[in-house]
Every structure is written in C-alpha cells, then in structure tokens.
C-alpha cells in the first residue's frame, strides 16, 4: 500500500505542480521588475474561467477537437495579460500601494469570473478537457514510467518553461532590463531604460502566465469550473517566489515540495479513510510556507531591492 500511495502521490505531484509552477514563474517576472502582484489569484481565476468557457461554448460537455482546448488555453493567457496590464495602470501609472491593490485585483478577478460563470454556464458542468496520454515506450519503465511519462502535452510544455524562463531572465537584454528596473529603477532610468514600459511588459508576461496556469487548472486538472477553483493557489504562487528566492530552479523545487504535501494529503484521505484529522494535513503546506519564510531570513537578500516601491521619475531622491 505504501508503494501505491507514493507512486500515486508522485504522479499527481508532477501533474498538479504545473499550475503553481507557471503562476510562480510569472510572478517571478513581476517581482523581479519590482511589482508585487498579489492579484495573481484573481488573474488565475479569470484564466480558469475562460479556459472552461471556450470549449464549453463550442462543444458543450461533449468531445471537442484538440485545437479548441488549445484555443481555451490561449484565450486564458491573453485575458491574463490584459488583467496584468490593468493592474499595471493602477500600480505603475497611478503608483498605488501594491499590497492593497493586489487584494483589489484578487476580488475583482474572482468576482468577475464568478459573475460570468453564473450567467454563461450556470451550474457545475464538466468538459472533456485535455486528457493524459501515455508516451508509448517510456511509460513502460517500471515506477518512473508512470510517474514521469503518463501526462498530457501541456505538462511537458510547462516544464519546458523553466529553462526558457531562466534563459530569458538571465541571458537576454530584456531580462537584464527587468532585473535592473526591479533593483535600482533610477539607475536604469539614467541609462535610458524606460522603467514603466519594462514594468508594464513584465506585468503582461506575468499576467499571461497566471492566466495560462488558471486555464491549465480547468482544462487539464479539474475539467470543470467552480468559483473557488483556484483555492489560494495564486497566493501560494506569490509565496513560492519568496520561497524560491527569485530563481526559476528553486521556485520549481518549491512548487514540487508544496504540491507533494498536498497530493500526499489527498492520497492519505483515499487510502487511509479511518484517519480522522485530515484538516491538519491540509494545513501543513501553508504552515510550511510560513515556517520557511520565517526561518529563512537570508533569502530577503536575493530579492529585488525595490520590490513594491513605485518609481516616480519626477520625485527628488
């Protein structure tokens, strides 16, 4: 039984870590540019809703061709980018305090998704979504095969994003601009980098990735939409960026650890039904985040120096 639990848990971990991973990588772009986007949850919610809406409008609950699901993913991504830009207007152009604005964005996104869901879809409906396919030869490898090679294409695409994000952030001029703008916007400004433009771009990228993560949740994971489908993943994604010290690889590890704890808890509920105190298991991942943040004070050193500080070109220093 123990082996079963572990194999199931690891398989689920590999699949379910994707939403968190993509959202945190997007949030990493925001934070590296100095924007603390707590509205991630709301953006994911809208992405999740659109990921459901597009296939549902075209094919209802029945089977739809593959490209429709991809269209759902793309719509969610675009909507996420737009919401990121709206957030940008508030925190970059108007220079509003980012923590509170993020809560506003969260309520706006979750509320909007809920409103549209009630009027366009109505009750709980399920879609076929993107199903998992086993890769022919590789999935036959004992243990590892099931854990690593029985997922759908979007999962592999998502894991491909880790090196891509790393490359963009650390090896391209634009990545350098993002980091400069988040570390010392005034110095970047004096070198001719348009600080607000780079921040808007990074918010659009981060929002797009959050939207994609949301659409992934409905299309590949839950195959349905409910108003609370995100269930705090957006906030956890923000915490994971701290946890992963603003580095794609460490964020990936954080996402894996966190999802592992969550999947283990669902497996224990299934395999050990006589265990009565499962709420405490559900708490564990959240407590883990707090404990790590509390006892890893060194990690603040790795953070962007002007995280959360709006840039005002007209202000004297």
């Amino acid at each position: 039984m123990f082996v079963d639990i572990m194999i199931n848990t690891l398989t689920l971990t590999v699949r379910f870590a994707v939403a968190l991973l993509i959202a945190s990588l997007g949030e990493m772009y925001n934070q590296k540019a100095g924007i603390f986007n707590l509205g991630c949850e709301g953006i994911m919610s809208m992405g999740a809703f659109l990921g459901m809406l597009v296939p549902f409008m075209i094919g209802g609950a029945g089977q739809v061709p593959g490209y429709v699901n991809i269209l759902g993913l793309i719509t969610g991504t675009i909507c996420g980018a737009l919401l990121g830009l709206i957030f940008g207007i508030v925190v970059i152009t108007f220079r509003a305090p980012q923590g509170i604005a993020g809560i506003g964005m969260q309520m706006f996104g979750v509320g909007l998704a809920g409103t549209f869901f009630r009027s366009y879809i109505g009750g709980s409906q399920s879609i076929t979504g993107i199903n998992a396919t086993a890769i022919p030869v590789l999935s036959k490898i004992p243990v590892l095969g099931e854990i690593l090679f029985t997922h759908n294409a979007v999962v592999y695409f998502a894991y491909l994003m880790i090196p891509v994000c790393y490359y963009i952030m650390f090896k391209t001029p634009w990545g350098l601009h993002v980091r400069a703008v988040g570390t010392h916007p005034r110095a970047a400004d004096s070198l001719g980098i348009n600080v607000n433009k780079v921040r808007y771009q990074s918010l659009a990228v981060g929002g797009a990735m959050a939207g994609f993560a949301g659409a992934f949740l409905t299309l590949c994971q839950a195959k349905m939409f409910t108003a609370d489908i995100i269930g705090g993943r957006g906030f956890i994604a923000v915490a994971l960026v701290y946890f992963g010290q603003w580095h794609p690889i460490k964020i990936f590890l954080g996402a894996l650890i966190f999802t592992f704890a969550q999947s283990l808890q669902t497996q224990i509920q299934i395999f050990v039904p006589q265990f009565q105190y499962y709420e405490f298991l559900t708490m564990l991942p959240y407590l883990l985040v707090i404990v790590v943040l509390a006892f890893n004070r060194e990690s603040n050193k790795f953070g962007p120096a002007s995280l959360g500080k709006p840039f005002n070109r007209e202000m004297r220093v």
Binding site: F36, L38, G42, I86, I89, V90, F94, R95, A96, P97, G99, I100, A101, G102, I103, G104, M105, Q106, M107, F108, G109, V110, G111, L112, G114, T115, F116, F117, R118, S119, Y120, A227, G232, F235, I236, V238, A239, Y242, Q276, Y277, E279, F280, T282, M283, Y286, L287, V289, I290, L293, A294, F295, R297, N300, E314
Partner: protein, 360 residues
C-alpha cells in the same frame, strides 16, 4: 480653502465614481442585465421598509468591527488581510465559551464570549505581527497563509469537537447556542441585534485610541515613516505587534457577534467574505474610525443587494464582489492622484489659469 484645490478633489472623486459605475455597467451589460434597473434595485430596495433597513444594519455590524481593526493596523503601516482567519478563530473561541457558559446569566456569558473571541483573534493576529516585526516576514503572505490554516482548523472544529450531537445528516455544524449567549433582536421579526452597540462603542474607543492617546500617536508615527519614528525613539516593532493584536481582536469580535447575533450556530462559511470586505470598508472610510460608520453602511447596502439581485434580476450576486474589487483598485488610484501635486498643478493651469497660485 483654495478654490481650485477643492474643485480638483471633487473632480477626481466624481471621475472615480463615474469610472466605478461604468465598470459596473459594462459587467451588467455583459451578463445581459438591465443597467439602470439593476442599479435602482441596489440603491432603493434597502429603504423599502423598516425590515430591509435592519438587514442592512445587521450586515454593517461585522463590516464595521473588522474595518475598525484594519484602520488601526493600516495606520500603523501593516496590512492585515488575515481578518477572515482571525474571524474564524473568534467564532471557534466564542462558540466554545458559549457552551461552557450555558445556564449563566446573560450579563456574564455574553461579555465572556466576546472577550474570548477578542483574545483568540488577537492571538491569531499576534503571529503575523510578530513574524513581521521580529523576522521580517511579509505580513501580506503570512496573513493569507494563516487564513487558510484557520479555515481548516475551523472546519475541523465544527466537524469533530463542536459537532452538534443531535445532527444526524452529517452536516458539519455546531449545536444551537444556549439562550444565555444569544444576542437579542431589538424588534421581533427584524434582524438587527445588540451587536450594533458593541460596534459603535468600538468605533469611539478606536477613535480615542488612535487620536487621543500616546499609543495611537506612536502607531500613526510608525505607519507614516517607520525610520523617522525609530529615530524619534519609538519602539516600532512593539507597536506593529500591538496594532496587529488589536486588529485581530476586532476581527475575532466580529466573528463572535456574527455567531451570536445572526447565525446562532457555527457552520461552514460563517465569515461570508466579511474579512475582505472589511478592507474595502476601511479604505472607503479613509482609515478613520468615525468615517468607517457611513462607509460600512454603504457596503451593508451593497452586501444586502446580493439577496435582492438573486430574487429580482438575472444578474448574479457575485457582481457585488467584483464591484468591491473594482472599488479598491479605484480608491487606491484616486488617493494617489489626489495627493499628487504635479497633476493638481496641471489641473489648476488648465481650468483656473486666471487664478495665480497663492504664495506659500
């Protein structure tokens, strides 16, 4: 008062209201509702009769208590978005104490329940305050995480320790509170209960605390500029923690009042989003304890309209949450525009070019 300055503020606020209404209209149109009739239902239905006004006031009570707490923490420069979790802790504590106090006179039982809720909420607020003050953990993250922990803890409590022994269907909820711990209604058949007295007394207390005591002065100084406050000899971490404890205590009391005055038993979803709405109320009331009262009344109207929207229109009640989010985004933007001297100067030159700027 400078003429143009007032005009500028009025113009900005008017523009903000128009933007908020526009956002709402677009959403209503998108879901196929009638814009004018929806707005009319939101505004007019609460004043239809005495009962509906009472409904609004009932929703105003927890909003106000939470917003008062958030005023304290925000003035001190720490964002408490964990009111939802602190409220859950307050519900658990007051529910437990209420059953222990069964049979005692009301004059003892009710203060005990509310006090225990305040202590539980305060302790729960102490955690993020301590983490922020001593270990530099962002309170935005820790409070959100603690919200989820509290939700799970509450679900556990109503599923096992506090479960109603007579409940056969398996719905996790506590038994009805004993009579000694129930807040009475003022008028039979309406929902307004004695909790509103607590809310108004708290508003006065928080006003005195913030503006008439040295603690309040030090908290506001720490919030305005923590470095300057530290230079002035104020122990900033200490006041951060105190502010968080007060804020959490208020949220806990809101939970107790909601439990003892409205629901009568602890069941899932008892906070119904008040923790987040309280943030909007506090912002709308400009973080001033007295201004919070009308702000809470306005949001009481909005929350009550959820009921009417569901009955009378095809517009989903989630619209209210969306509007709250949009209002937060607009308020924080407006505050920055109003406080921006450059935009104000531009405005003056555009519309009041004949008036010379007064010499300072």
């Amino acid at each position: 008062m400078n003429n143009y300055k007032l005009c500028y503020k009025v113009a900005v606020v008017l523009a903000a209201i128009i933007v908020a209404l526009l956002v709402g209209s677009i959403i209503i149109l998108a879901v196929g509702g009638n814009v004018l009739s929806t707005y009319w239902i939101i505004i007019s239905m609460p004043f239809k009769n005495f009962r509906s006004i009472c409904e609004v006031l009932t929703r105003m009570i927890p909003l106000m208590i939470i917003a008062l707490g958030i005023c304290v923490s925000s003035r001190c420069g720490i964002n408490n978005i964990g009111a939802e979790g602190q409220m859950y802790m307050g519900v658990v504590a007051s529910c437990t104490v209420a059953f222990m106090c069964a049979g005692m006179p009301r004059m003892i039982a009710i203060p005990l329940c509310i006090l225990s809720a305040a202590i539980a909420g305060g302790l729960y607020g102490f955690i993020p305050g301590f983490l922020k003050a001593k270990l530099e953990v962002s309170e935005l993250l820790s409070t959100v995480m603690l919200n989820y922990v509290a939700t799970q803890f509450y679900l556990f409590c109503i599923r096992i320790p506090l479960l109603d022994p007579n409940e056969k269907t398996g719905t996790p909820m506590s038994a009805r509170l004993p009579e000694s711990a129930v807040l009475h209604k003022f008028v039979r058949g309406t929902s307004l209960h004695e909790g509103i007295i607590l809310a108004i007394v708290l508003a006065a207390l928080i006003y005195i605390l913030l503006f008439k005591t040295s603690w309040g002065y030090k908290m506001r100084a720490a919030g305005a500029s923590s470095r300057a406050a530290r230079y002035g000899g104020i122990n900033v971490p200490k006041y951060l923690i105190i502010a968080m404890v007060i804020s959490g205590g208020c949220a806990g009391m809101a939970g107790a009042v909601e439990l003892m005055g409205v629901q009568g038993r602890a069941m899932s979803g008892i906070t119904s989003g008040y923790g987040f709405s309280g943030i909007v109320v506090a912002l709308f009331g400009a973080l001033h304890p007295i201004m919070v009262i009308p702000a809470a009344f306005f949001f009481g109207i909005l929350l009550y309209s959820q009921v009417n929207l569901q009955i009378l229109t095809s517009v989903p009640p989630n619209l209210v949450q969306t509007l709250q989010g949009a209002i937060i985004l607009i308020i924080v933007s407006v505050q920055m525009v109003i406080n921006n001297p450059y935009t104000e100067d531009r405005f003056r030159r555009r519309f009041f070019s004949s008036i010379k700027k007064e010499a300072k």
